[in-house]
Subunit: 215 residues, 2 copies
Amino acid sequence: MKLYSYWRSSCSWRVRIALNLKGLAYSYEAVHLVQDGGRQNTEAYRALNPMRTVPTLEFEEGGLVRRLSQSLAIMEYLEERYRTPPLLPSEPLPRARARMLAEMVNSGIQPLQNLSVLQFVKGELKADDKLFGAHWNTRGLTALESAVKETAGTYCLGDQVSIADICLIPQLYAARRFAVDLTPFPTLTRIEAACSQLPAFQAAHPDRQPDAVPA
Amino acid sequence: MKLYSYWRSSCSWRVRIALNLKGLAYSYEAVHLVQDGGRQNTEAYRALNPMRTVPTLEFEEGGLVRRLSQSLAIMEYLEERYRTPPLLPSEPLPRARARMLAEMVNSGIQPLQNLSVLQFVKGELKADDKLFGAHWNTRGLTALESAVKETAGTYCLGDQVSIADICLIPQLYAARRFAVDLTPFPTLTRIEAACSQLPAFQAAHPDRQPDAVPA
């Protein structure tokens, strides 16, 4: 498998965690989201992923090269193909809660503060992109703290790592980049501390990717 | 089951279609997103859904009242609980493609043009909310047209209705409200015409909801 990724892309980071948790080897293909106007905007990359996003997962199936984008769709695919260890609980209702928490990040926070949106806010709207990004992080994490508290154990859903944790960790990193105060979210930061002990999360961290830029 | 919904909310609309396709009866609880500063912002509603979004699905399970938000999480739950008719293909790769297409709308377009975001763009950034909404619809639908073409039959994935169609139809309605030119998306509008023949889609249309406001 090959993962088109960018070190700081939170959606790429999610898939890196999932691949690591499942013990799946992959090659890393860096797509620089800033250089040369963003390499995701090249014709070559758009042919792989018309949405011009990372990640894209490439693999062979039935003798053909297949490509998937959208981190949650990729993780659900990995979950169906490689059952162990599971990234979702086994029962429908906890599964739904895991997906709900993941979506609160995936559709409720991340899209509003990704690079292309911030560039549009600053470049086209001539408005404060930092304010915009911070606002949606704060608003979404406030809701997430409240929702996670209902089911949290060591992780978002009891003591089993799930896609909810996988979405949470990169989002907290992003929130810090917008200087969001995380002290109102003690449940979320406690879970982050627990996840940061796990090798699969450690190896997926932006700083450990081949295209990382030292601070 | 009770669905907290708003007639024009595209995410509520998705769940209405899914419930209709599955033949599941539900009661409709209108949450007016504009009146009185938005009824989703009341303490009472935030206790049900801290993200202050619609839809929320409420139901009993194990003798307790349960609530789920996030339309894709809700649809996956319905899919696991009520298998027939399926909203996803049966094989992992087509399932992943259905989820990918659905996410291109769910995380790639809809969040950037929902009401709370437009209100922030206009009210806080003092910028052009219509331009903002139109931009992300055009950009996302351009990518979606390209992706859907690879698998389209009568619907987004061959001849079986899936969550991809369920996400597509409300998004095209939203795009028209932003006066987006849909002529570059012939595959998407052809699928829309096919879906509009189905009673489950017809009954879920905003104009047929109890809280609809006549034009």
